[in-house]
Structure formats: C-alpha cells, structure tokens
Subunit: 218 residues, 2 copies
C-alpha cells in the first residue's frame, strides 16, 4: 500500500486481517516488492487490476446495472489501472451493443486517455491529484486491450470538479465518496458529456476518506 494511503484505508484493511507493507510512490516499484514477497514467502500474487478474474468480478457492477435497466444509454466509470472499467465495458457492450461507455480519469493523470489516443500503452509521470486511488501511470496490459476494443472514450476532470462532486454526494446524496470514486459523477456534473433525456449509469466506487479530508470537504 502506498505510504500516503488514507488512514481509514489502512485501518479498514488491518480490520480485515491483512498484514500491511508500505512503499514510497515516488521511489519504489510496488510490483517488484510484491513479486519479491510472493517468492520469498510462497504467496500467491493477485494483481489489483491486470487479471482477467479481477476484471470479470468488477464487471458485475455493470451486470447489475443492465439487469435493472436493460436499455441504459450511457455507462460511466472511474479508470485507474482499468480493472473496473474494462470489466464493466465487456459486460455492458455484450448485453447492450448500442450503449455508450466512457471511462473518467483526472486530467493530470490521463495515461489511459493518451494510451487510447496513441493506440498503445503510454506511461506518464506520477500525477499530483486528490484522487489518490487512481494515480496510476499506465493502464494494464490486459485492461488496455479490452478498453481499446470496447470503450467509446475517456472523459477528463480536474481536482476542483472532483471536489464539487464529492460535496454534492455528501450533502445531497448522503454518500461519503473518495476523490477517485467520484470522478464519473464529476464528469456529469461539470458537463463533460450530454446526459439530458438519457438513462445514465454512473459507477461510484471507493469511500476511503480521512477525517482531515472530510474536514476540508465541510
């Protein structure tokens, strides 16, 4: 887990019985650390997004949407490594070929946007954003291939727009959502896509908000 992960995320993870190993986002390679731990302790490595089973599991969010609303016009989801979005995109495209599917990422963390534009995976510098859960620098190998084939596009939002969305979610929807989880709501509220008259599904994912961030939000 990044050493700067929210305290609530640490506590919740410990509460589920995990042993935490921290790393420095700027200086260390978490995949190398994980591989070394797996080898030395005989552990099974489960990649957080670049694994077909993880992608399929996260895609059940889209399945629930389309079971309830089969003729959904649009589906929006946050994109970090692309596990959630690629899983949702496969499911939604299969069940409703005409649906519009968009991922949403932070403007300064637009690695998936650039990768789709270039037709191959692009690596960007570590982005500075309040959306700490999606500070990836490149999409996954498997997730990129799925997104390339099934997505309609990527929408970009900035930190101020995320902030507005989090406040709306807290005070009007009564939901405590972390910055990364609120990006797709931010895209709609800030007018990045036309939704008038359409049935729109928005995936809101992640509620790791520290007391300090919540204070600022108030």
């Amino acid at each position: 887990m990044p050493a700067d992960a929210p305290e609530t995320k640490r506590q919740a993870t410990l509460g589920y019985g995990a042993q935490l190993v921290f790393y420095n986002r700027q200086a260390e390679d978490r995949e190398a650390i994980a591989r070394q731990l797996a080898t030395s302790q005989g552990l099974t490595l489960i990649h957080p997004y670049d694994d077909l089973r993880i992608m399929a599991g996260q895609g059940t969010a889209a399945m629930e949407f389309l079971q309830q609303i089969p003729d959904l016009d649009l589906l929006l989801a946050p994109v970090g490594g692309g596990g959630l979005l690629s899983g949702c995109s496969v499911v939604a495209r299969a069940l409703n070929p005409a649906i519009g599917i968009f991922g949403v990422e932070v403007d300064v963390g637009n690695d998936t946007y650039l990768s789709l534009q270039n037709g191959e995976r692009v690596t960007i510098p570590l982005p500075q954003t309040i959306a700490d859960g999606i500070r990836t620098t490149t999409p996954g190998i498997l997730t990129f291939e799925v997104m390339r084939q099934t997505l309609d596009g990527i929408l970009l939002v900035n930190d101020a727009e995320i902030w507005q969305a989090m406040q709306f979610l807290l005070w009007r929807m009564k939901m405590l959502v972390e910055p990364s989880g609120a990006v797709a709501v931010a895209a709609v509220l800030s007018g990045k896509i036309t939704v008038a008259g359409k049935r729109v599904g928005i995936v809101i994912s992640g509620g790791n908000v520290d007391a300090e961030l919540l204070k600022a939000l108030m």
Copy 2:
C-alpha cells in the same frame, strides 16, 4: 418546520421550492398552525404520517425489501409518528405473515412503546434527544391502530447507542445518516435483538446532518 431543524434540512427544502414556516417545539402547536394556514390560504393539508396514503407510500420500502428477500426473518424501522413503520408493517405482514417486525425509538421518547403497552395512545413530554426527526410525543391515530395490529414490538435505544451507529454508518458504510434515521441500526449494533443467523432488513431513513453535528461525529 421546527425552528431548531437542521440547517441542511432547511436548505434542501428551500431548494425544492418550498416556503418555510417555523414554529417553537416547546411552545407552539404545529398542527394548529398548519390548519390555520390551510384555511386562510386555501391549501390542502397533507399530514406527515397520519394519512393512509402517506403510510402506504412509505410502506413501499418494505415491499422492495420483500421483493428482493421474500423470506426475510426480521424487519426493523425507526418510529416517530409511525407513518413509515405502520406502512412497512402492513406490507411486510401481508407478504410474509411469519416475519418479525419491530419499531425502534429513543428511550426518552418512548411514546409508541408506552402506547402499545397501555393499549391506547399515550402522550409524553417533549423528549430531549439527538434524534430530532422523531421527537414526537404521541403516535398518530391511524398509525397507532395499524401498529397495534401488526407489530411484534418496540425496541428502545439511547443517544450514545445512536451516536455509535452513526459513526459506524459514516466510516464503514460511507453513509451520512441523521440520528433519527440510525436508530434501527443502533438497536442491532447494541444487541437489543438477536440477529445471528437471521436475514434482517433495516430501514435507514433520513440524512439531514448539519456541519456542526458532522464535526462532532468526527
């Protein structure tokens, strides 16, 4: 609206286009004020709970529960005037005669508990509690009759137990719930009823939490 209603409730109500009229809980009779306004301005009075249509509408919460989980063992809901609970109770009892149905109120605001015990509506002094949304002093005429015929009982919780439930809901469930809305969760978390091995439906209703209360909650 009580003059001490949460600021977020005022703002949300104004946002929906309402004209607000305030009254003093201790000194004034809101039903008399409402009747007078209705007469002088030719308005239609809609009682917040003692109206069969309001009760039926609120009962759709239980209908959704039982459509998803037909063999629910227990259903718990907050009780103020009894609109939500009586509506839910009629629906749940009709769809699943064996279900256990319990209302939850604050120990110092136990007007429904006492009324059911006495077999007739009891009026108590205005209770002092953080659960401002259910500070009723007597159940409704219609709601009491329905609750008398369909409920299994009333559970009582105190302010400290409500507080614990609100914190759990905010930090682990990521839901901002007002004190009155969290009483049924408080009843379960504080062990007022045995839930082990049972399928339990809990109605969580109301998210009018002011910034001041949220600060205290943190």
